[in-house]
């Protein structure tokens, strides 16, 4: 039968994929996609634990709110991306380094 470990493995794969995408992509939208994967892995974990270790539905509530937060995050994040694009005409992540002191690249 399907066990808790199986869900955790899938969730781990999601998490690691998201992390790799976040680190290796240089496009901000692609990085946001990676963040969505990570949030999904967390939500999946919550629901899985809710079924296998507790008898209540708090895990469902938690993942519901994770989805809510993810939507808000995507909305604001993409708005920032679009604004950034209007100013810089690019969405390359390495251009978002305004806080750094200028160092020769």
């Amino acid at each position: 039968m399907v066990s808790l470990q199986a869900y955790l493995i899938v969730s781990l794969i999601l998490l690691i994929t998201g992390l790799v995408i976040m680190i290796s992509r240089k496009n901000i939208v692609a990085i946001l996609l990676g963040i969505e994967l990570i949030l999904n892995s967390a939500a999946l974990n919550f629901v899985a634990y809710s079924k296998y270790t507790t008898n209540n539905l708090d895990g469902h509530i938690f993942s519901l709110f994770i989805i809510v937060i993810a939507a808000a995050e995507a909305a604001v994040g993409l708005a920032i991306v679009i604004r950034f694009f209007q100013i810089k005409e690019t969405i390359h992540i390495d251009e978002v380094s305004e806080l750094r002191e200028e160092i020769a690249r």
């Binding site: 992390l19 976040m22 680190i23 240089k26 990085i31 992540i93 390495d94 978002v96 380094s97 305004e98 806080l99 750094r100 160092i103």
Partner: protein, 729 residues
């Protein structure tokens, strides 16, 4: 009735929402603000009335509602740190809720007339709503912590409202004075809460009752004093501050700088009553702590002293202010002599007639544009309705039979007399005598005020002609008349005199006496296994198991297993003392009224006669017994400021000159030596060496601070991994 969050919470939340809404509205549409406030409090009144009717229908002293929700829970293992907030409604709360919402509604309505067109008059309603919600929250609270929070909110509102006309310097000073004076009491109150917490482990009232019932306070001391005494005294200090009792009464007369409706609501009817209410709630603690005598003395002194000061006041509101202090003194005296029921009854009756008196005074002042009684006289033709209302209340406060003040005040005095007669100890004589002398003075100064204001000839023609004749207006004198109806005694005692002559509602004629039972040791047993209910959707208690109270002719309530014969005997004695007290006070009142008539209507005795004979006393009275002088000139200016100057001199003259400068000299010498060491050894070797090391290290670490987000992520993950290695491996 089903006690859910939707039937209880609106009482507190409606005025609070009115406050929140008004905060928004006041910038945009200020003309709606008063009506939002009025709607909030009137709605709250209906909910409170529903609760009162329910309690009145159940008619049982054991009936109470206690519901809690979890506010803070930081418990970990055996260390319990948990605070539950909640509500506690018993008969006293139900009466109090009805009184507060009813009086506040009428005062709100009156304010729409009184304050209309005044500067910032919308803001006045914002404060009123916040104040009312805080008061109702305090009454509903089931624990001292939330009582304290609401208490402080009320303190803030009081501060804002006293200083409402902040253009006047006196108003500003008065508000600061009130705020700072009550703070003295509040500090003690907080200390008392902490002391109770240390013993009981929580601060909700049923738990405290349970702890007292289980004897948790026995044998515990702090600083060599019994802990119950200490905690009780600290909490009573809160009452002293809030209810303007003897050492801290100085703020209340000055508080009359605020608008009159706020004086009526805050400084006469509700907020000052909150202090007495708190003492009544904590009555068992004070009983256990054996503070009764102290409380009785403070109450007696306040009642007498304030009454004497009121004799010579010329300002209409000042007379009422001192009479408020005096009446509050009676309540505290009642607590001290064990007249729990009567003290609470006096709280309620006093709230109603004093609110009416203040509103009437407001009506006079607003119509006449003056508040000095020497300028008035003969106003009964101009202001007939106000005159009628004010006379009713004057009769009530004077203790004339048929009116409510007689019923409540006489029971306090009767109990004091009983205590004295029964114990025969001289220590109880003084408060009793002070109380009776105060009872002699009260009618006199009230009648004097009425005669000077409404009767006789007018003494300032311009103002008299300028004053308009009063018409029956729904928001001016209708609230006054409604309030004055409730100054009749039988609403509270079921009979006109309180001595059981008329019985028109059968068993419920002595409802006040039956429902409000002093929580003495025996009554507290029901709390010994108290369990608090959460705010669930349904009221799950089985109401049928609570037995209906048995009505006893003399005592009112007899619970199960109570020795009725002993009680009857006991109450016979009480009744005897009460009749004696009632007769005495009727005679005293009659004498006092006669004196007032003689002096101010017929002119047999001139007031200046007493002024000349008792000139020293009058001087003391004019200076309010030198209390203000004592606090401000002596204690603060001479004492505290001198002390500060001394400390300042010590700081600059001795500490600075010798200690610091001397230390500096030593240091200079040491520095000369170390400077050489620094330049030669440290600089060249250690510092430069560190700099080189840092430079090398920074080459590594500055690549982290690159500004590239993805590098930050990598570092973050690395940190997580490292941390988990550190914690887990």
């Amino acid at each position: 009735m089903n006690y859910t969050i939707s039937t209880i919470a609106p009482i507190f939340l409606l005025p609070f929402f009115a406050f929140v809404i008004n905060c928004v509205l006041i910038k945009k549409v200020p003309k709606f603000v008063p009506w939002v406030s009025v709607a909030g409090i009137v709605g709250s009144f209906f909910f409170a009335a529903a609760i009162f009717i329910d309690f009145f229908t159940v008619y049982n002293t054991d009936y109470y509602i206690h519901k809690v929700f979890n506010w803070i829970d930081l418990s970990h293992g055996d260390n319990i740190f948990k605070i539950d907030l909640g509500i506690f409604i018993d008969n006293m709360t139900a009466v109090m809720l009805l009184m507060v919402t009813g009086v506040a509604s009428l005062i709100h309505i009156f304010s729409t007339w009184y304050m209309k067109g005044d500067v910032r008059w919308e803001r006045f309603f914002v404060y009123l709503s916040l104040f009312t919600s805080a008061m109702l929250g305090l009454v509903l609270s089931d624990n001292l912590l939330s009582i304290f929070m609401f208490w402080e909110i009320m303190g803030f509102c009081s501060y804002s409202l006293i200083g409402f006309y902040f253009e006047k310097e006196e108003a500003g000073n008065a508000s600061i004075k009130a705020f700072m004076t009550t703070r003295v009491g509040d500090v003690f109150f907080l200390l008392g809460i902490l002391a109770i917490w240390a013993v009981v482990g929580s601060v909700d009232i049923p738990s405290i009752y349970a702890a007292i019932s289980n004897g948790a306070f026995e044998g515990k001391t702090v600083f060599g004093i019994a802990l119950a005494s200490f905690a009780g005294f600290c909490i009573f200090c809160g009452t002293i501050g809030k209810s303007a009792q003897f050492p801290l009464q100085v703020w209340l007369p000055d508080a009359m700088m605020g608008p009159t409706p706020c004086s009526a609501l805050i400084h006469a009817a509700t907020m000052v009553a909150a202090g007495v209410y708190l003492s009544l709630r904590m009555y068992p603690l004070m009983y256990v702590g054996e503070l009764n005598t102290l409380i009785a003395y403070i109450g007696g002194i306040t009642a007498f002293g304030a009454a004497t000061i009121a004799l010579i006041q010329k300002d209409l509101k000042a007379v009422l202010a001192y009479s408020t202090i005096s009446q509050l003194g009676y309540m505290v005296l009642g607590i001290g002599v064990g007249a729990y029921n009567a003290a609470f009854m006096h709280l309620v009756t006093h709230a109603i007639f004093k609110a009416c008196l203040f509103l009437s005074a407001g009506s006079v002042i607003h119509s006449y544009h003056d508040k000095y009684m020497p300028e008035m006289g003969g106003l009964k033709n101009k202001l007939p309705y106000t005159c009628i209302a004010m006379w009713c209340c004057t009769l009530a406060i004077a203790g004339v039979p048929v009116f409510s003040g007689f019923v409540s005040k006489d029971r306090i005095l009767g109990d004091a007399l009983y205590l004295f007669l029964q114990t025969g100890e001289g220590v109880y004589a003084i408060p009793t005598i002070l109380g009776f002398v105060g009872a002699f003075l009260t009618p006199f100064y009230m009648f004097r005020m009425m005669f000077l204001t409404f009767h006789g000839k007018n003494r300032n023609k311009d103002k008299y002609d300028h004053c308009h004749k009063e018409h029956l207006t729904w928001n001016q004198n209708v609230p006054l008349l409604i309030l004055s109806v409730f100054t009749l005694g039988f609403f509270f005692s079921g009979s006109l005199t309180g001595q059981g002559i008329i019985s028109f509602a059968k068993e419920k004629k002595e409802w006040f006496k039956v429902l409000i039972e002093p929580p003495v040791q025996q009554r507290l047993e029901k709390f010994s296994n108290v369990t608090s209910q959460p705010f669930s959707f349904e009221d799950t208690r089985d109401m049928s198991v609570i037995p209906k109270s048995q009505y006893l002719k003399q005592s009112g309530f007899a619970g199960p297993g109570y020795d009725t014969s002993a009680e009857e005997e006991y109450y016979d004695e009480v009744h005897h003392a009460h009749v004696l007290g009632a007769v005495a006070s009727v005679i005293i009142v009659a004498l006092s009224v006669l004196l007032a008539f003689a002096m101010y209507i017929f002119g047999f005795i001139s007031p200046s006669f007493f002024y000349d004979k008792l000139s020293f006393w009058v001087k003391a009275l004019k200076n309010k017994y030198y209390m203000d002088w004592l606090y401000i000139d002596v204690l603060i200016k001479k004492g505290l400021l001198k002390l500060n100057n001394l400390l300042s001199w010590f700081d600059s003259g001795i500490y600075d000159r010798y200690a610091i400068d001397g230390w500096a000299f030593i240091n200079r010498q040491v520095f000369k030596a170390s400077h050489w060491f620094d330049r030669v050894i440290v600089d060249s070797v250690a510092v430069d060496g560190t700099a080189v090391g840092t430079e090398i290290f920074s080459l590594v670490t500055k690549s982290i601070q690159s500004g590239y987000i993805q590098k930050y992520i990598i570092v973050l993950i690395g940190a997580i991994v490292a941390l988990s290695m550190f914690l887990g491996f």
